[in-house]
């Protein structure tokens, strides 16, 4: 018996998963207590698309967990 071959999901599946995450994120910020953050979230999402298109960025610093 051979072990199953594990392949990363296809691009359409990955995009679907990302779209679901974005919808859940929007749902989270639609709560009245967080509504004030919505404009910032829109900017973030637009910037996120740009980052995704450019391959993303990573940043590590000592206090990154406090700030980011």
């Amino acid at each position: 018996m051979t072990a199953p071959i594990h392949k990363p999901p296809s691009l359409p599946r990955r995009l679907r998963a990302r779209a679901k995450t974005v919808l859940k994120l929007i749902g989270y910020f639609l709560h009245p207590a967080r509504f004030v953050l919505a404009p910032m979230l829109i900017v973030l999402l637009l910037a996120g698309i740009l980052l995704w298109l450019t391959g993303g960025l990573a940043y590590v610093a000592p206090f990154v967990y406090a700030l980011f």
Partner: protein, 579 residues
Amino acid sequence: MARVLGISAHYHDAAAALIVDGKLVAAIQQERLSRIKNDPSLPIAAARACLEFAGLAPEDLDAVAFYEQPFAKLERVLVNLLRNLPRTWKQFPRALASQLGSKLWVLDHLAEQLFVARDKVQCFEHHRCHAASAMFVSPYTDAAVLVVDGVGEHSSTTLWHGHDSELKLLASVDFPHSLGLLYAGLTAYLGFAVNEGEYKVMGLAAWGQATLRDEFARLIRLHADGSYELGLEYFAHMSDAELGFGPKLEALLGPRRPANKPWEFADPSDRVSRPGSRPDRHYANIAATLQAVLEDALLGLARRGRELSKSKNLCLAGGVALNALANARIQREAGFERVFVQPAAGDAGGALGAAILAALALGDPRPEPLVSAALGLPIDASRALTIAHELGLPIRRVDDPAAFTAELIARDKIVGFARGRFEWGPRALGQRSLLARPRERATRDRLNRLIKQREPFRPFAPAVASEHVERWFASPPDDMSPFMTTVAPVRPDVQAELAAVVHEDGTARLQTVEATRAPELHAVLAALAERGEHPIVLNTSLNGPGEPIVARSEDAIAFWLRHAIDALVLDDLVIERPT
């Protein structure tokens, strides 16, 4: 019955932990496999190693649980950036990159890289994961649980009541007020690396005196209900990811200590503060005051937890729970009968907590109490043999590795000891250790000079057979001592016999060793006793400066090639340095 993988990642100490049918099967920090100290990256290698050890494939998993809620974290980041404008405007691009480049999609990334269905990946609140990681592997069915770290999603300190398989939140302190960030800020001020140098600050504290109480009263205010507030004007963790403290702190305490500058008070007579003499005593006094204030704060929180929970037991978790000095004081003074800290109390432990919470949600019982920290991968002796032969190293088998190790230790040799599965958490507990005779201070100096290259004020720890503890130490074994998460006073009449492991304050961060918990190390101690030697050894981690602790055979042999130890024991294989 479920198969659940817990994951912590993205900040520091990434890890994976696997629960199968309610049993903790494996728990591995990513740094051990990647060989990058405090590796924060998504722990795919650690997760796959856990699965391989258990003989499972990714599709066998019922759930993957992440130790933090990404949306709640993003909310706190956004609120903090807005609240602290304009100081934070420079951080916006980096915050965007950090959140949108990876953190927001972490559950998707886990599903894709672990080859599991996305709907099997879930997340839990950071502090609840910490609380679960302590409570649900503790020996208690009822306990107060105190979680203290830098920050999770919103909270930096939480108090819980744990009962059977339930956790109920009692109280919390939210960011930006944080004991973890207070300690981290002062760690940076003292010139140490944050998330790594906190142990050094704790060691440094014994060389100073808590003479700066008035200054620290401005940095943190402790309230009667156990809560606290930071003097935020002295800190920068709300707006600066690099430093953590602001110019007002330097105005209050003096200029920061430059990183990597040699320390200048190796002589114990320098402990007493003499104004105008060596400036490093001032920094030692800062460390001592910080330690005293932290202990006061933790004591207040622990006592509040006892009032609210009415429990006789306490579990501690979060990075601050790795402060062994504070844990010992809590055990003595907080009024609890028993105190437990699991060995990976920091962020790595969040993986364990997440796995347990997901397993409980799927109907599993809570795991058995944690007996041993040996939850990693075993030594592969055949691979060690192959590598050693390829390198032409004089490797051979011995019939009784414990007796062989004891003989070398009795001859004042330094032995690398790698047997069994490697440890969970930052402490070497006899599975990947350097062992030596604890009698001579010269042994400590030799270890420091040849291998560790530590600051002169940092202590080494003893490991003692638990049946002999009270001969050497003034407190009996407790629920923390098998995991080296507490300290104990060394009896004054034997301190001279343990010169290599007694710290400047007369304590030692001891490990009590039982045959059921750490059989390989216990066998060495028993063999020492059989030879008429004391059943106690100096036990420090099998790694060089800046390296993660050894995990696999090849790491151990690489360590042997780089460092001048006398012998390396790998399972039942031995390599000796010619005399």
